[in-house]
């Protein structure tokens, strides 16, 4: 499949910081080959915040882990996948070169701050370790940078807090420490995988505020992986929607929320209860996400789609260009009149 000939979603003015092309990550399980990431292509520009959204099992987290080559057997990144970053293909460089990228040029913020931190070292030690591993200066210097970083992420009295162990900090403070650890080497790209999902909503607001602020001050690119469309709307400038191991839609955040094209995106947006909205019945997407070992034929969403017709069952849709910077993997782009013919649009479909 010539996924590299994808339509341009970004206004390709300058070369992007990260270019993922035809990324395929398969898991060879007892139940067959799980094609968790199945031909994913996207770009992240310098200083840009991009959201990668989808529900459980859509492949968004496996995509993130693949970017850092953190896939363990039985998983494998398939030949032909390309991750272009800093003028190199991260797929082909050797492990020691990859280690120099991880944490220094591309850093990761995980969902659960308690498991991302080592309980038997102080948080200052853990941040300083990142500096020492990447060979920047001595012990004293590394510690100073750790304390400075704690201050940058808004931790009060950072010199004292640096001597605390993770269990002495609250959930919100721990996530700030994890962010400090990610940013201490001043990476070009931060991959944040559900960074606020484990946090309460008032703490989430603090952390999102912090990410926005740091992004502006440091110019770091952020790839924000989340299932929460509210978080996406408030944080990113461009959104990539994944379903069934593929990119199904990509657009600027305003375009996606005002004029979603793909029926899956439309369904997701309609299924969300919203604060301050009328209490009408929620729209639902019937059925569930299929397992990655057996994606349906044709369009992977066809058995849950209210518009699907024969073509959707037989022909796998390419990414169609919908507008400037807007692409969608749906045959409705070729036959738009079908959208009006849907007998049961989402809004009226009762739950099974």
């Amino acid at each position: 499949m010539a996924e590299s000939s994808r339509p341009a979603a970004t206004a390709a003015s300058s070369a992007p910081l990260l270019s993922v092309r035809d990324l395929r990550t398969y898991f060879y399980t007892e139940n067959g080959v799980a094609k968790s990431v199945n031909g994913v292509s996207f770009d992240v520009g310098a200083g840009e915040t991009v959201g990668l959204v989808g529900e459980s099992g859509c492949g968004k987290s496996v995509t993130a882990l693949s970017l850092l080559r953190l896939i363990r057997p039985p998983g494998r990144i398939e030949a032909g996948s390309k991750i272009l970053f800093d003028g190199r293909d991260l797929i082909t460089i050797d492990e020691s070169a990859m280690r120099a990228v991880r944490g220094a040029r591309i850093a990761m913020v995980f969902q659960e701050p308690m498991t991302a931190l080592n309980p038997v070292f102080t948080v200052g030690d853990q941040i300083a370790e990142v500096v020492r591993v990447h060979g920047d200066g001595g012990r004293r210097d590394a510690w100073d940078r750790a304390v400075k970083m704690l201050e940058t992420v808004g931790i009060a009295s950072p010199a004292q807090r640096a001597n605390d162990y993770p269990h002495q900090l609250s959930g919100g403070m721990r996530q700030r420490v994890v962010i400090a650890m990610a940013l201490v080497m001043n990476p070009a790209l931060v991959i944040a995988d559900e960074p606020t999902t484990a946090l309460d909503v008032t703490i989430q607001a603090q952390i999102l505020e912090l990410l926005r602020d740091l992004q502006q001050r440091l110019g770091t690119s952020i790839l924000l992986i989340t299932h929460d469309l509210g978080v996406v709307a408030e944080t990113v400038s461009r959104v990539i929607v994944m379903y069934g191991g593929e990119v199904v839609e990509e657009a600027s955040v305003n375009e996606l929320f005002s004029a979603a094209h793909h029926p899956y995106t439309e369904g997701l947006l309609n299924a969300m209860p919203r604060v301050g909205h009328e209490r009408e019945r929620l729209a639902t997407i019937p059925g569930t996400v299929p397992p990655p070992t057996s994606w349906p034929s044709g369009c992977r969403f066809h058995d849950r789609c209210p518009y699907a017709w024969e073509r959707c069952v037989s022909e796998h849709p390419p990414l169609y260009q919908i507008g400037a910077g807007h692409i969608s993997r749906c045959h409705l782009a070729a036959e738009p009149e079908r959208r009006l013919k849907a007998h049961e649009p989402f809004a009226t479909k009762a739950s099974p």
Partner: protein
Amino acid sequence: MTSAPVPPRPLLAVRDLKKYFPIKSGMFGRASGAVRAVDGVSFDVFPAETLGLVGESGCGKSTTGRVILRLIEPTAGEVHFDGQDLLKLDGASMRKIRRKIQVIFQDPFSSLNPRMTVGAIVREGLVIHKLAEGAAADARVRQLLDEVGLRAEYASRFPHEFSGGQRQRIGIARALAVEPSFIVCDEPVSALDVSVQAQVINLMQDLQRDRGLAYLFIAHDLSVVEHIADRVAVMYLGKIVELAGAADLYREPLMPYTQALLSAVPVPDPTTKKTRVVLTGDVPSPANPPSGCVFHPRCQHPAKDAACAAIVPPLEEKAPGHWAACIKQPPTGVEWSQQQAAGGTKQPTRYLPVVASPA
């Protein structure tokens, strides 16, 4: 403590409920203090109504649900259900009344016995409460599965064969089997994806309409609660700080904590500009709650003063059916002279930073 709203006759009436967990220390495990998980909570749930109970981790909302079910015994208080005080019942009478009070848990993976078939799980309550036997029970199980949108043949399968959303439907069928009038729903949709969450919420609303069920819907997701609840109670550090009709509460939150909580919810619309009250710091420990108003150290009300640290604010009716615990939000029964005596220097003033514009 003022009691919550009165007429008509509530199905469930909770009065001044307290649950303190002792903190044991030393080699003999002597209690050296207490975590005040639930600290004097009162509310009513009316027949066929959904009362949402919201708050952040550790605010005591789940403990409240568990105490009502008597899965944990409370330290003090009363829980009246259908005219009986549940906390005074002996084991046998409590078991009988459990038929009327059911529960749906958060995690559909750990709340179903993996060694029992779906049919056996749903059937168990029928048999225990002697509601049906043999073929009649089998028929009832099939009917229940159908009602929650599952195929009858699923009765012979095991929980691990189902997705999260389907398991939550099994949990709902199990709760419905004994024909309850009241269900405690403890975060029933928070483990589910958005599209599946919508299916389960719609199902719960359909069942409520068809059977006249009352729900105590405990959740941290404020948009889900606004969607499903008729009235909403907000908890902070073991206390109810605000209780109002869902529309009122979301349109005009009065308690500064509710204001901050609601303004923190991300809005799935990139074009809205909103006022955000960003709270600083973390929730204090319920083992050592602040004096006076438990929210005062983080409060952003412009009239906050020494009186807030001294006076425990009563939950009082600020507008018809709209209860809030704040002595600085008028009207208040805590007289200005009383506030001054406690060190107050700023008169109560109306503070509404996040009032929603009419949609």
